[in-house]
Symmetry: C2
Subunit: 425 residues, 2 copies
């Protein structure tokens, strides 16, 4: 089964809003195993919308549209699609009553325009809307089914989850299953080279790689007659990927982030964490604290951007700063040591580097970074050279710090690493 | 002049990533006064990409593509577009040298795949990439110009700003001038209501609003025969907006961020800054430190996520935590006071709140946040209730902290506020 998505709205074409609806619907379709090869965006314009809808109808079994169901004259998605499918619009009494109730409840005045929202194509399945006034619509035409959804995500998301997904499940014949293998500490081209034979031979399951800052995600998706069979097809491929990347794989759970995997490792081993950040200025700690439950392991963080604060808060020696500079292996080492000891944390991480755009020299270029990790007193410092603009360098450094933290934890906790390998991660 | 946008990538069709590139390019085109009636997304598939590209080429003068310029076999945007435009791919020596240098500098091994990225369509203008390996390309075909950009936003955005915009400006017959009025501390619907008469009457210049977390940006764009004339049309509208929003406007310069405006205010007044963050966990400091030159004013930051760290590092009283809890006006006050005094900073900011998803009660719901600001010993604490998921709440709190910092600085420094009003911002 093939679906296409058309998002209707001038505000998307003007760049006023980011098209999160398309991403939400796409992810939902992928989860249902419904192929989606095209997304389109078009303004509130009858001729252009009809052109795009006709094109999509030829290619797909289902066309999902969002937006353009509002009460104003601009809003014409329903009218255009009904005309394209040769359906008359008729008043839906239940929808009209709900709209009136919606207004009463909020002490708002109904305008003539609002009745327009209660008209639906003849024979349509109406998706009643608890979170707004525009009902959604499923209308089956010749060779194509159109699904019309309201534009505001607060209305679209619950309507999708509660009404559209059950409908699509009921008409879909196939089952899909996918796993996401997330790898840290390897670039995308290396991952692809290492997986080339699998990628070249892919058919069912399919293998796709996604590059993130400091991470590569590999999605393995299979389709079959039942979810169990699809699962069976995915399993050996994921096992093979695990064999090739070993402990660089931090999760196979789509919802787990790199920072969550670090928090989890600390939590499981009863370890506490502190951080001392110079160039990242709190970004590493902020990512860690975004994990619900971070409070169980995070003790404290320092943003020590100035040399003075490195000396005062972390006890970095003046002579170290004078002799080697603040962006040096020695400084990163003293930062992480001082941080762990000041906070009495089991584990600490330190970052110091040159974020640019100024401050680089031939010897110490922009992007040069030292990251230190201390696990129960054992310290490791690693040197990096990141590229890009200031923000990109800081983001890369943060991802590298999380990766190094995880690696040092696995190395220092043979139990954790062993368990990890045995369970296949 | 008409443009269309085609974003290439299976990860967008699968819903793995939100298509922020389309929004960025669309907003850029709107700023240049170039019409954009269609956006499309298609996967890394030769036949489907060619179909969409051919369709767009018929309708538009310029087709802008993002993604699919990577080193792997999946990546085929360049190959497909070159074939559609009947252009041979030839090796660009400079691009190849840059790629080699990129790898050398990082001590990475070149794979055979990487040379593929240095091939460009004959006669193309090459957009060299400082932030990655894939060069961008501008290639003029019969009746249509294709602009190919790398998919990662960290590469696309600087390439768009520094190379594509000047190119589009140079080929556009008309002159455009736009200013971006950035407002903090007002919601989008309030801004729209306050500007309704101007928006309803808009023609030339046009007025568009963009909602950001904690900010609203208003773009005023005029077209005319010369930039000077366009400037003249924009000026009175911007003046009127300034009159309506006063000191809530923190800049009219597109490139200035809220955090940069705060750093600038501190720098101009010779003030130093410290921060104590609980729920935001370093996010506020990280945003401030992202401003080049932040080192001139930022002294130090604390991430005091635990109660113990609030007591130890900031001197928050145990009795305060017991009586009022860590998410309270009293705690925010003691945090900011203790932070300023520990660091001997002129200005300090503190944040404490409940980020969720757990930990909320009827009395103290998820999203409740207190932000404290101290300017030369004078302290202000403000209460907020933010909504959304954990990350959204933390981002909203960070934006509110920067807004409150700026407001307190303007109030405490009558010189700054006065000067600010006189100069129109």
């Amino acid at each position: 089964m093939k679906a296409e998505i058309i998002c209707v709205g001038t505000e998307i074409l003007m760049g006023n809003i980011v098209n999160t609806n398309a991403a939400y619907i796409s992810a939902g379709l992928a989860g249902l195993g419904i192929s989606c090869y095209y997304q389109s965006v078009v303004g509130d314009n009858d001729a252009r919308l009809k052109e795009v809808f006709d094109e999509s109808s030829k290619r797909a079994d289902i066309v999902i549209l969002s937006g353009g169901l509002g009460p104003t004259e601009d809003d014409l998605t329903k009218e255009t699609v009904s005309r394209a499918l040769n359906k008359k619009l008729i008043l839906d009494d239940k929808a009209w009553k709900q709209i009136q109730k919606f207004f009463e409840k909020r002490n708002l005045k109904l305008t003539d325009n609002n009745k327009k929202q209660a008209y639906v194509p003849e024979g349509a399945k109406v998706l009643y809307n608890k979170n707004g006034t525009a009902p959604g619509i499923i209308v089956e035409g010749e060779g194509v089914t159109a699904i019309l959804l309201p534009g505001p995500p607060g209305e679209l998301i619950p309507m999708w989850d509660n009404q559209v997904v059950p409908y699509l499940r009921s008409i879909s014949g196939e089952c899909f299953y996918s796993e996401m293998v997330k790898i840290c500490g390897s670039g995308e081209s290396f991952v692809e080279t290492d997986l080339k034979d699998l990628i070249d031979a892919q058919d069912n399951p399919t293998i796709a790689t996604y590059a993130k800052t400091g991470e590569v995600h590999v999605r393995v998706t299979a389709k079959a007659g039942s979810e169990k069979e699809a699962h069976k097809l995915v399993k050996p491929v994921v096992k093979e990927i695990k064999k090739r990347f070993g402990s660089k794989i931090f999760t196979t759970d789509e919802s787990v982030t790199l920072e969550a995997s670090v928090i989890q490792l600390l939590f499981e081993n009863g370890l506490t964490l502190a951080a001392a950040e110079s160039l990242t200025g709190g970004m590493t700690m902020s990512r860690l604290i975004n994990v619900p439950g971070a409070s169980n392991v995070v003790k404290m963080g320092f943003v020590t951007y100035s040399n003075k604060s490195k000396r005062k808060a972390l006890g970095v020696k003046r002579s170290t700063l004078e002799k080697f500079g603040s962006v040096s292996e020695q400084c990163a080492k003293e930062m992480v040591k001082g941080c762990a000891s000041a906070v009495k944390a089991d584990v600490a991480v330190s970052l110091t580097g040159i974020a640019g755009p100024d401050g680089g020299t031939d010897e110490k270029p922009v992007g040069l970074t030292y990251i230190g990790v201390s696990v129960l007193g054992s310290i490791k410092v690693k040197k990096y050279l990141f590229s890009g603009e200031r923000e990109k360098i800081r983001e890369s450094a943060t991802a590298a710090a999380l990766t190094l933290l995880r690696q040092c934890l696995l190395e220092s906790l043979p139990g954790a690493a062993g368990e990890d390998t045995e369970s296949g991660v």
